[in-house]
Symmetry: none
Subunit: 226 residues, 2 copies
Amino acid sequence: MEVKPKQILIADDEPDILEIIRYNLEKEGYDVHTAKDGNEAIDKAKQLYPDLIILDIMMPRKNGVEVCSILRTQPSFQDTLIIFLTAMSDESSQIKGLETGADDYISKPISPKVLVSRVNALFRRVSTKEAGKTLQIGNISIDPVKFLVTINGNEVVLAKKEFELIYLLASKPGRVFLRNEILTQVWGNEVIVGDRTIDVHVRKVRQKLGIDCITTVKGVGYKFEI
Amino acid sequence: MEVKPKQILIADDEPDILEIIRYNLEKEGYDVHTAKDGNEAIDKAKQLYPDLIILDIMMPRKNGVEVCSILRTQPSFQDTLIIFLTAMSDESSQIKGLETGADDYISKPISPKVLVSRVNALFRRVSTKEAGKTLQIGNISIDPVKFLVTINGNEVVLAKKEFELIYLLASKPGRVFLRNEILTQVWGNEVIVGDRTIDVHVRKVRQKLGIDCITTVKGVGYKFEI
DNA sequence: TTCCATATTAACATTCTGTTTACACAAAGT
DNA sequence: ACTTTGTGTAAACAGAATGTTAATATGGAA
């Protein structure tokens, strides 16, 4: 299975820092996006749904802690990884950061080596338990390795996009995914497709699976449930 | 996910101050409304139900403290954030302000930086505990992530507006929401709809839930209670 | 290249939601 | 009793959102 590079969003008001981080993370094979203040970070986060967000604590237009708590209130960012950048001395923000729901923090001045290893470690930590795993919901299993959906032992073959769609939805059964969210997660954030594209894929999945496990929430999005 | 920008109402009789504040807060991404005296502040507050009200202490036609205590007597403004603007020297009003039920005060002359950070801090304080959470009242649970209302384990599917309505009411069980308040919270303050619109939605919710958890308070509004 | 499956669009059909209209009903005031 | 005011209900409608189908594009494999 072709693995998309992880999307990382970095927010810091110092362009130099931004570039150092970008350089080192892109070298590692990540896709890096940047924002220069808190509000831009929020906007881009909602637009990209990145896998990891790195937030400087001290930023204009909403500091890192604020951005973090705002994002965390939304279901879509409940499980997004967040790392804080803190001034070395500032211990209290470190604590506060972790309280607010950050997954890690990195002290400035930044050592590229530390940065990269922390980021890798974080992805490793979640990937071991989360990603690439066969989902099992009721009598349906979704195996991303074999690229196979099985219902009561019957194998169903899905096309790539169809599979990614059902895999996304099924990764959090019950949770509603906004159309926007689905678009960026499955199609990628630069691709622009028409309104009906999602529907058509949903339809095909429903059709192929034969059972009714994708529910429409009108005006909102879709969710997986049996 | 669509998030409405926070609504802020500012009341001050000096147009310059009004504009400075407006400029800085709009830059932060907030929606700003203004009033030039105490009475206008009250009127606009009741019309907008803003998330935050910034009141100058010295104003014609009811000063800030008066406005604050008047608003605080109404349930609808019990949880609205209020900040006072005070003259630097005037310590007694600061104390009085906090006694009256303000959440913070800012000394004049105003530093945009201080202003913005105080405002952000205030929102952060409340946002961490409030938003996006599953409500649980008695045997009813209202889950905005799954977009689902559950009564004794039975799932009830509501349309978007219906859900937003019940979620608002249930967010403060027992508290009466004025019709106006419901309109601005659920429909938004620019949308104009007819008188019966709320009723019809209330009716549909009652119907779908099957149990009687929305109480009519005639001449006033509705409240959630079991 | 040609073939084939997949992905996307376009056009149209369908469903559902939100809103209004019209009227019934209840409570309170005169 | 009559009027006024406010809410409940049902039906009807417009428009939004989604479903469906077929046609077209795309891209990879033979």
